[in-house]
């Protein structure tokens, strides 16, 4: 935590792709144990923000501070070791590996210094049970359906034993009851002290889960507030309806 008691603090972050400004001077923060939402229309820069936080991309301007430590230039694997874990919106499984082996990668790397090595497989199986994969651990991940791949994305991100979990549209394509199941998982995770950043298009899930929400539109932060405040915000409505 830094001086203001923030777990994660992003200040004045700008990310360009060539001449295109994907994120323009965006600041946001995450408190310890907080459940944060990040919403906005397609192409507004949500995933780019996650890429800059996780280190998959490097921002040109601004800083990212985690637990008081500047991590702006740190490679992604170091950030994962520190406890920042993310899922990918477009699933990126390790295709030649089984479901269980997919789980063991973050355990043997990101969480290596934090978790008793002898318990890896048990812990992996526990997490797999959460998403209903307990009987499919040996199945090859290359043949999974899109929906299953999303579940694996979430499970694998959890296997890194994160302090901050960033879930990038983990619920897309899930049925209504599956969405509730995932929300349940995320609530439990949060109770154990994990802060969560949820990117989601399913408003019902975001409004139910998040304590505070940021809204991005075309690379700009246009609103911040509680779910109630966001729902009543005319700027947000305009951004979504594309007026």
């Amino acid at each position: 935590m830094d001086a203001n008691g923030r777990l994660l603090d992003v200040q004045g972050l700008t990310k360009r792709f060539g001449g295109f400004v994907a994120l323009n001077n965006v600041s946001m923060h995450l408190d310890p144990r907080e459940r944060l939402g990040l919403i906005g229309p397609n192409g507004s820069g949500k995933t780019t923000m996650i890429n800059c936080i996780s280190g998959a991309l490097f921002n040109e301007e601004g800083s990212v501070v985690f637990r008081g430590e500047e991590i702006t230039g740190l490679p992604a694997f170091k950030r994962a070791e520190l406890g920042i874990s993310r899922s990918f919106q477009i699933p990126r499984p390790f295709r030649t590996m089984s479901i269980l082996e997919n789980m063991l990668v973050p355990m043997e790397y990101a969480a290596w210094g934090r978790v008793d090595h002898a318990t890896h497989e048990d812990r992996a199986m526990e997490i797999l049970a959460l998403v209903g994969f307990q009987d499919r651990a040996r199945e090859n991940s290359g043949n999974l359906t899109q929906v299953d791949l999303r579940k694996l994305e979430l499970a694998r991100a959890l296997a890194a034993q994160p302090d901050v979990l960033v879930s990038d549209e983990s619920m897309a394509g899930l049925s209504s009851s599956e969405v509730d199941e995932v929300l349940e998982i995320l609530f439990k995770l949060n109770e154990r002290g994990v802060a969560v950043i949820m990117i989601e298009h399913i408003m019902r899930a975001v409004m139910r889960y998040c304590e505070r929400i940021y809204v991005l539109d075309a690379g700009q932060l246009i609103a911040e507030g509680t779910p109630e405040e966001i729902q009543g915000n005319p700027d947000v409505e305009r951004a979504y309806l594309g007026e």
Binding site: P75, F77, A80, F94, R95, T96
Partner: protein, 317 residues
């Protein structure tokens, strides 16, 4: 500590080599055995980077030749023992491998493969213009007529290659079965995801390219002494580079014993063809077998067996 079947196998292979050296008189056996084992080291080396890590190296012959020419250059400079030459050649090629690793920072997939090919071509023209090691005319090596402990020089070279092969196989097996092996596989499957799961991708890739370089340098260093005459054409031989790729592809690239199976099989076929028909046919044979495998069994012989075993399990209820 439990002694695993693997180590028993290693000791058995070594013992078999010594027994063969003791009983066999036919020098051709050692000659052929040396060539097969040389291919085996190259295949195992290629597979560390190509199979485990997913970076295809087209420049294997370059590493091999640099190993051979490092040995020649040192041999011209001072008559060092062969083992010392092998170690230094391994270090030199390891460093070149390390440099190759930095290429992976910017180059993926086919671009990396082309860069390694270009690198081999650059090395070849450097060597061709380096008079100290004979330039394009090549260099001769005088090998001792008698060696201690062995009946002949070629017999000693065969045992040397056998020991080197077994070491390389053990290293490759360790790499693939350890935690590092999972890290390498995650890079092969998805580098971005691997990095975000905490895998230090650059460090692992550098280890992978360095190990590959060392092994190929080690395979190349004894070569001039084996053939007693070396020139750029024979050191940068296309067949060496093609075999290094074909043997793992035929055996199976995902596991450590894939390239071993491929090398023993293809290497033996090539030796038989060399004796019965002509060595000119070898490159044609590799080409044909490789195409057949890429088209029909992309996961190699190991993959075929795995599929077969799975079908039996599922079919047998």
């Amino acid at each position: 500590m439990k002694v695993s079947g693997f180590w028993i196998g290693i000791v058995l292979m070594l013992a078999a080599g010594f027994v063969l050296a003791g009983v066999a008189d036919n020098q051709f056996l050692f000659f052929a055995g040396y060539v097969i084992l040389q291919g085996l080291i190259m295949a195992v080396a290629w597979n560390v980077l190509g199979g485990f890590t997913g970076y295809v190296n087209f420049g294997s012959a370059g590493f091999f030749a640099i190993g051979a020419y490092t040995a020649i250059a040192l041999h011209q400079f001072a008559e060092l023992p062969l083992l010392v030459l092998i170690v230094i050649a391994g270090i030199v090629c390891g460093l070149i491998g390390l440099g190759t690793g930095y290429l992976t920072l910017r180059l993926r997939g086919v671009y990396f493969a082309i860069a390694t090919l270009a690198m081999a071509i650059v090395f070849e023209s450097l060597i061709t213009n380096w008079d100290y090691v004979g330039g394009s005319a090549g260099a001769y090596v005088i090998t001792p007529a008698e060696v201690p402990f062995f009946d002949s020089f070629i017999e000693m070279m065969f045992i040397l290659m056998l020991v080197l092969s077994l070491i390389c196989v053990a290293v490759s097996r360790y790499l693939s079965m350890s935690r590092m092996g999972r890290g390498l596989a995650s890079i092969r499957d998805d580098e971005t995801a691997a990095e975000c799961m905490g895998v230090p991708t650059l460090r692992l890739k550098l280890i992978s390219t360095t190990v590959m370089g060392v092994m190929m340098g080690v395979a190349g260093a004894p070569f001039p002494f084996f053939v007693t005459y070396i020139n750029p054409l024979s050191a940068f031989d296309l067949l060496i580079a093609v075999n290094a790729i074909a043997m793992p592809m035929i055996g199976g690239t995902a596991v450590w014993f894939g390239p071993v199976i491929g090398a023993l099989l293809l290497g033996t076929i090539q030796q038989i063809v060399t004796v019965t028909i002509s060595s000119e046919l070898n490159i044609l044979i590799v080409g044909a077998v490789l195409i057949a495998f890429v088209a029909l069994a992309p996961r190699g012989i190991v993959g075929l067996f795995q599929d077969f075993a799975r079908k039996r399990r599922e079919g047998g209820k």
